[in-house]
């Protein structure tokens, strides 16, 4: 049976899609058959981050409404052959997604894949509810700021009461905290919440800390998930997080502010 993993946050713009793309790619690189589904109907952009936007013919709404077969809509990644993408629709609205339709898709994908990643839209409306409903595990993406932590807290409450596992009184959804856009220098200046403060409120196991990094924007503009950029700190941090997700023990990196040496001060170097 495949594991269904939702990448969620409540708040928008915190790095869900970036993390979904990185995780899907990382899991596939580890040899796991992985499919990543974009649930952000109307605002799709996972296909852009994954660099497959020019290969989209059919999308999840077409599949649910019977206009296309599931394997017609799946796009095989060209870099990692165990990875597929199921794009969202650009033109439909969220009402086109139905619980039954999503259930059928997930059931069918379960036969062929090890991991089904669900990239959730922001908010707690229908699209977000459907993205998390079938989850076995949740990666809760949180930025080190008060409003993002509050929204993540809210989503955790929803996972614990409104998911299929909760409704059927099964074992709860396994929760993982992924802190993204972490800027140790700004944390040190008191402009952002400390990692401990975030953990103190949310109280779920920490899967990883992804530093704020310019390489993320560069990666998304070229359609290459940042995890493929082994030079960048964000890419390395995502690699660590995926390894931990698969059970490996790795120390947290990039959570202390860098002591800037003479040369980097002189040339104003920045973290890659």
């Amino acid at each position: 049976m495949a594991q269904v993993v939702v990448v969620t946050s409540g708040k928008g713009g915190v790095g869900k899609t970036t993390s979904s793309a990185a995780f899907a790619t990382g899991l596939a690189q580890a040899g796991k058959k992985t499919v990543v589904i974009d649930f952000d109907v109307g605002l799709r952009n996972l296909d852009l981050i994954m660099g497959v936007e020019r290969r989209v013919v059919f999308d999840i709404v077409n599949v649910i409404s019977g206009e296309a077969k599931l394997n017609q809509a799946l796009i095989r990644d060209k870099r990692v052959d165990t990875l597929s993408i199921l794009p969202a629709s650009q033109t439909r609205d969220k009402d086109a997604l139905t619980k039954e339709g999503v259930a059928t898709i997930i059931e069918e994908l379960s036969k062929d894949f090890d991991f089904i990643l669900c990239d959730s839209p922001a908010g707690i409306e229908k699209g977000a509810m459907l993205a998390l409903y079938f989850a076995d595990q949740a990666v809760v993406v949180t930025n080190p700021e008060v409003s993002s932590v509050r929204d993540s807290d809210r989503i955790l409450g929803v996972l614990q009461s409104k998911s299929k596992r909760a409704e059927e009184k099964k074992d709860p959804v396994k929760e993982h905290l992924l802190v993204t856009r972490y800027d140790p220098a700004r944390v040190e200046r008191g402009e952002m919440l400390k990692l401990e403060d975030v953990q103190d409120i949310l109280r779920i196991p920490l899967l990883g800390v992804i530093p704020e990094s310019e390489s993320v924007l560069k990666a998304s503009n070229t359609g290459n998930p940042v995890i493929l950029d082994g030079e960048s700190q964000a890419g390395q941090a995502y690699k660590d997080a995926v390894a931990r997700f698969l059970g490996e023990d790795r120390p947290m990196r990039f959570i202390e502010a860098e002591k800037r040496g003479f040369f980097s001060r002189l040339f104003g170097g920045r973290a890659a």
Partner: protein, 243 residues
């Protein structure tokens, strides 16, 4: 600092304590454009009073067929930092109009018609019991998260985890939090002036006992970040360090 929930004689509304641990704003006039300026006026004279407090709209004095525009009223009240959370009294039509604007009918303790309180993000709690008699303590084992509200009707509430910012724990009896209290804690719902709030780590957004309350900015020299007991001495709230 605490504020007695009583006497405001200025038309066209009346403020009055109720058997919730909440204030009731009795509407005497259905016109939003009359109510809101009058309120704003009153509030200018009592700065800080009621700021961000939850409030229940009392519908008994309204004409049953002339419902106010509840959507507009809610928005305008929020703009002056009053947070309406539901209604009490009034006929079915008024209640329905309010409900449609997101204001569910609430049941005053000791009131006539029991109506369940809306649960925004339900945490499993036992069936609400009728208000007669004392009920067993409700024990919650997990954290209470933003957007969740837990109500121990007719008894005490024990929370073993934290109560996070944006969460609300309510008991007609005492509230015990064996974690950090960062959200709202409301004790002594049914006019129980002897109710207390206990928290192992005291960092609340709001505490209230029998309708008297203090918001974060009104906690004065309460020992924040410590184990604390909150009780009422006469009309003022007292914060004592525990242990």
């Amino acid at each position: 600092m605490s504020s007695p929930a009583s006497e405001a004689r200025l038309e066209p509304f009346r403020l009055r304590g109720a058997n919730f641990n909440l204030l009731v704003l009795r509407l005497l006039d259905p016109r939003v454009e009359v109510i809101v300026p009058a309120l704003a006026d009153q509030f200018r004279r009592a700065p800080g009073f009621l700021r961000n407090a939850p409030i229940v709209l009392g519908l008994d004095d309204l004409d049953p067929v002339a419902a106010p525009d509840f959507n507009d009223l809610t928005a305008q009240l929020r703009a002056v930092q009053i947070a309406p959370i539901g209604t009490t009294g009034g006929g079915p039509e008024l209640r329905a109009a309010a409900q449609a604007a997101g204001l569910p009918p609430l049941r005053a303790a000791g009131g006539e018609t029991p109506q369940p309180i809306a649960q925004p993000a339900p945490v499993p709690i036992p069936e609400p019991l009728p208000p007669s008699g004392w009920q067993p303590t409700l024990v919650v084992d997990q954290a209470v998260r933003a957007g969740q509200r837990i109500w121990a009707q007719g008894g005490d509430l024990v929370v073993r985890g934290t109560v996070n910012p944006g969460a609300e724990v309510i008991a007609d009896g005492n509230v015990h939090v064996y974690g950090t209290l960062r959200g709202r804690a409301i004790a002594g719902g049914a006019d129980n002036l002897n109710a207390r709030i206990f928290a192992l780590n005291f960092e609340p957004e709001l505490v209230s006992i029998a309708g008297y309350y203090a918001v974060r900015d009104g906690l004065g020299d309460a020992p924040l970040g410590r184990p604390v007991q909150v009780c009422l001495i006469g009309e003022s709230m007292r914060f004592d360090r525990l242990g």
